[in-house]
């Protein structure tokens, strides 16, 4: 084996005093050979990102590498001067980030930004630099490179921006590329293209890639070797096939088991009556219209019809901008649809005034995506949960005691009622959000990406809780998600949306086994790690994390 490109020995990174632990990274040993992709995988707080940033010398203020060494081609990056580090950064090591929109300067064209890198690190003429940029854009397969060079970041799509970032990172032919969750902010089809691109470029240039991710599907797609991290420590390292198929450590096995399988769960018998029937729902947004009209018209939902039966879970699957969240918000009247009928039982909700709507509000409740913004930080959890029933006329004392029962039902302690949202983790907050929705004893739950902000192990627990609750209260559920793995495990039927239309719908097993629409097939093909399947079934735990 050749000499490693990057070798991290006994790395310790300290958090500022007052943080919940001393070390963000503790005694981590990693090595990366040239021409190899090493995936560092872990949940939030595992220290994977800080490890990557330590290599780049880009640790946040007051966070310091205190012990160990980071050898890059024999040179210890923790010891070199800032000037030397600057020369290495960009030239020999470069980085791509999660969010290309914030990593690019919005006031400069993408061409200018790459030009700056070339100007600093090379002595090419202006004309040669431009030729090089166009060549780079061709290499990252950006369409119409000559024109895109002069575009501003906001004029590019998310995938194009990430390609431009990759072009910038590769502009000086670095030996080491650090990719920090580079596809997390992208849609699944775009993600598949970017992963393929990184793989191809890596093979062509023999770059060493340190790839940070939380997604085992992505790991299966791209990794040569894998390092699993937890709480700042290295759990295990090994080749991709070893770790993915024969994990040694218990934590790795648990993580792998928590990744939802792409094989749909057995369908349940649902022959209940229809509880929610949406017919030809239309919602159009007007963007940027001022006092004198004008503006752009964006059709978000076009003539969508859906029916939800009692006790059934209907998945609405789609990429960002497909209109799935807008549709959900129209159905529960957080947004007013422009046209169509929204039949909840025998009542059409769409034409009702706010006053007429109020008695029907409690029948449909929503679970939100972001566990941090969905709970008012100013109130105790008990008050948050009891607010709905109190609004609907339940006595305060009854609502409060019911809130405590609900907290126990969702796997938290009744004592949690006296605490504030910020004292809970993301998964616990999502449980609180579920308790709040249940407090109104709804017939229908509308869950908008309820687990996509959560770590994979927490995700499995929240999904198990949702399944349990649905069974226990015979709830119908509308489940919005972009994640086909989650959809496979949760939904009885799915509807695939694109550009505001349902392109395909049917029982989950049928759609998965035999997708009819071209777009559905593309979606399935893009799921990262679709060929890799872990064997252990999803554990049916409802325990609190």
């Amino acid at each position: 084996m050749s000499e490693p490109l990057l070798e991290i020995r006994d790395l310790h990174v300290n958090l500022p005093t007052g943080a919940d632990r001393i070390h963000a990274v503790e005694a981590v040993n990693l090595s990366l050979a040239p021409d190899e992709i090493l995936c560092v995988v872990g949940e939030s707080g595992s220290g994977k990102s800080l490890t990557a940033r330590a290599v780049m010398g880009l640790l946040p203020e007051r966070v310091r590498a205190t012990q160990g060494e980071i050898r890059f081609l024999g040179e210890d990056l923790l010891q070199v001067s800032e000037a030397r580090m600057r020369a290495i950064r960009g030239d020999r090591i470069s980085m791509i980030f999660q969010e290309p929109m914030t990593a690019l300067n919005p006031l400069m064209t993408v061409g200018q930004q790459i030009d700056e890198v070339l100007k600093i690190h090379s002595d090419l003429s202006r004309r040669a630099r431009r030729a090089r940029i166009v060549e780079l854009f061709q290499e990252v397969q950006l369409p119409d490179p000559e024109q895109l060079v002069d575009s501003y970041p906001h004029q590019l799509s998310g995938g194009q921006r990430q390609r431009a970032m990759i072009a910038m990172a590769l502009s000086l032919e670095p030996q080491l590329l650090i990719a920090d969750e580079p596809t997390t902010a992208l849609d699944v089809t775009t993600q598949a293209q970017i992963l393929k691109l990184i793989r191809e470029l890596q093979a062509r240039h023999h770059t060493g890639v340190l790839f940070i991710t939380h997604d085992f599907g992505v790991v299966a797609e791209i990794a040569d070797r894998v390092a699993v991290m937890q709480h700042g420590r290295l759990v295990e390292t090994g080749s991709a096939s070893e770790v993915l198929h024969h994990p040694r450590e218990r934590y790795t096995r648990e993580l792998l088991a928590a990744v939802p399988s792409l094989t749909p769960r057995p369908p349940r018998v649902t022959d209940g009556e229809t509880v929610l029937d949406a017919k030809a729902v239309v919602k159009t947004f007007r963007v940027g219209s001022g006092l004198f009209g004008g503006g752009r018209v964006v059709p978000a939902v076009k003539q969508v019809s859906l029916a939800l039966k009692r006790g059934e879970t209907l998945g609405v699957v789609g990429e960002s901008g497909s209109g799935k969240s807008t549709l959900a918000r129209c159905l529960i009247r957080l947004l007013d649809a422009d046209d169509g009928r929204i039949m909840l039982g025998d009542t059409d909700l769409r034409p009702l005034t706010a006053r007429q709507l109020k008695p029907h509000r409690r029948r449909m409740q929503m679970i939100f995506q972001d566990p941090y913004s969905s709970l008012n930080p100013r109130y105790t959890v008990g008050r948050l949960i009891s607010e709905g029933p109190i609004t609907n006329g339940v006595a305060v004392a009854d609502a409060r005691s019911r809130a405590r029962e609900l907290l126990e039902l969702v796997g938290l302690e009744a004592r949690a009622a006296e605490r504030y949202p910020h004292e809970f983790s993301g998964g616990q907050r999502q449980r609180i959000g579920i308790a709040r929705a249940l407090a109104l004893q709804p017939e229908i739950l509308v869950a908008d990406e309820p687990v996509s902000a959560l770590d994979v192990s927490v995700q499995a627990q929240v999904l198990a809780l949702l399944a349990d609750i649905r069974e226990r209260f015979q709830l119908s559920m509308l489940f919005i998600t972009h994640d086909l793995r989650v959809a496979a495990q949760v939904c009885d039927r799915i509807a695939v949306m694109r550009h505001g239309e349902v392109v395909e719908h049917g029982p989950t097993a049928e759609v998965f086994a035999n997708p009819q629409h071209e777009y559905t097939r593309q979606l399935f093909a893009a799921v990262p790690g679709r060929d890799w399947q872990h064997h252990e079934p999803l554990p049916a735990r409802v325990a609190s994390p």
Partner: protein
């Protein structure tokens, strides 16, 4: 209670804010103690005109009519603080209502309320305040109204911005989804979440209000029956070169008070604003 302690710890870190708080406390103490220290009417002609300070009967000298400057400052403190506080309260109430409604409902309500706000902002505020007092006849009420009328647009803009960003938060949508009234959502759910910037802005507004009041009193538009710092300076401006103390001491009082309030405001900003907290 706990969060109050944590807040105090953060506030205490800013030394100059604590200094401001001390000065402000002294000024308030002086205002409260004025009737005890100088039980007589401050307009009373107490002795020989234009007595220099630190000599004879008067600690800080006397003015052209023989009124005690020190008594004037002590009694004027109450007026200045009262006007500053009242005007700010009125401005904040109007601003929160306008900004909150505009930010929460958006659409044509937002357009309408913000155009009205802009009309107020286009008129130079001091000239506008003078005009209002001149029309309404100088009195404490009319000065408070005038200052509030020129101050609320800034609050409205601030509150509108906060409401715009908070309205789209999921916890607000959850409240809409459970059938809560708009009024309760605006006042019980969203407003508590934007109190910090409002408190900071209004603390600075108190300082501005005191300055406006003093400037108006200087121009002779103060309440003629109430002693204030601006009135004292106005009374002394004709003898500025021969009897500096008549203007200087009330001027120092204004300077110190406004400075103290600004320091406290800055301290509040540091302690309440979580984004700045990281850099503290």
């Amino acid at each position: 209670m706990n969060s109050l302690m944590a807040f105090w710890r953060r506030f205490r870190r800013n030394r100059s804010a604590v200094l401001g708080l001390v000065i402000l406390a002294l000024v308030i103490l002086m205002a409260l103690a004025a009737p005890l220290l100088y039980p007589e009417d401050p307009f009373r002609l107490a002795g020989r005109p234009l007595t220099p300070p630190f000599s004879g009967d008067f600690l800080l000298g006397s003015d052209t009519l023989g009124r005690d400057v020190a008594a004037g400052i002590a009694h004027g403190a109450k007026t200045s603080l009262l006007i500053g506080l009242l005007a700010t309260v009125v401005a904040v109430v109007i601003g929160v209502l306008m900004g909150g409604l505009a930010g929460y409902y958006g659409g044509w309500i937002d357009d309408l309320l913000m155009r009205v706000t802009e009309i107020f902002q286009t008129i130079p505020s001091f000239v506008f305040a003078i005009l209002l007092v001149a029309i309404l006849k100088p009195s404490i009420q009319s000065i408070v109204i005038a200052i509030a009328v020129v101050s609320w647009p800034a609050v409205a803009r601030l509150v509108r911005g906060e409401f715009l960003s908070l309205r789209s938060r999921e916890f607000v949508q959850a409240c809409v989804g459970m059938g809560m009234h708009d009024g309760r959502i605006i006042f019980a759910q969203i407003l508590p979440n934007c109190l910090s910037p409002i408190i900071v802005a209004s603390s600075l507004m108190v300082a501005t209000a005191i300055l406006i009041e003093s400037a108006m009193a200087f121009l002779g538009l103060g309440d003629p029956n109430v002693m204030s710092w601006g009135f004292l300076i106005g009374a002394g401006r004709t003898v500025l070169r021969s009897a500096w103390w008549v203007c200087a001491f009330p001027g120092i009082a204004i300077l110190l008070t406004v400075l103290a309030i600004n320091l406290v405001g800055e301290g509040l900003n540091d302690a309440l604003n979580p984004r700045l907290r990281e850099h503290a």
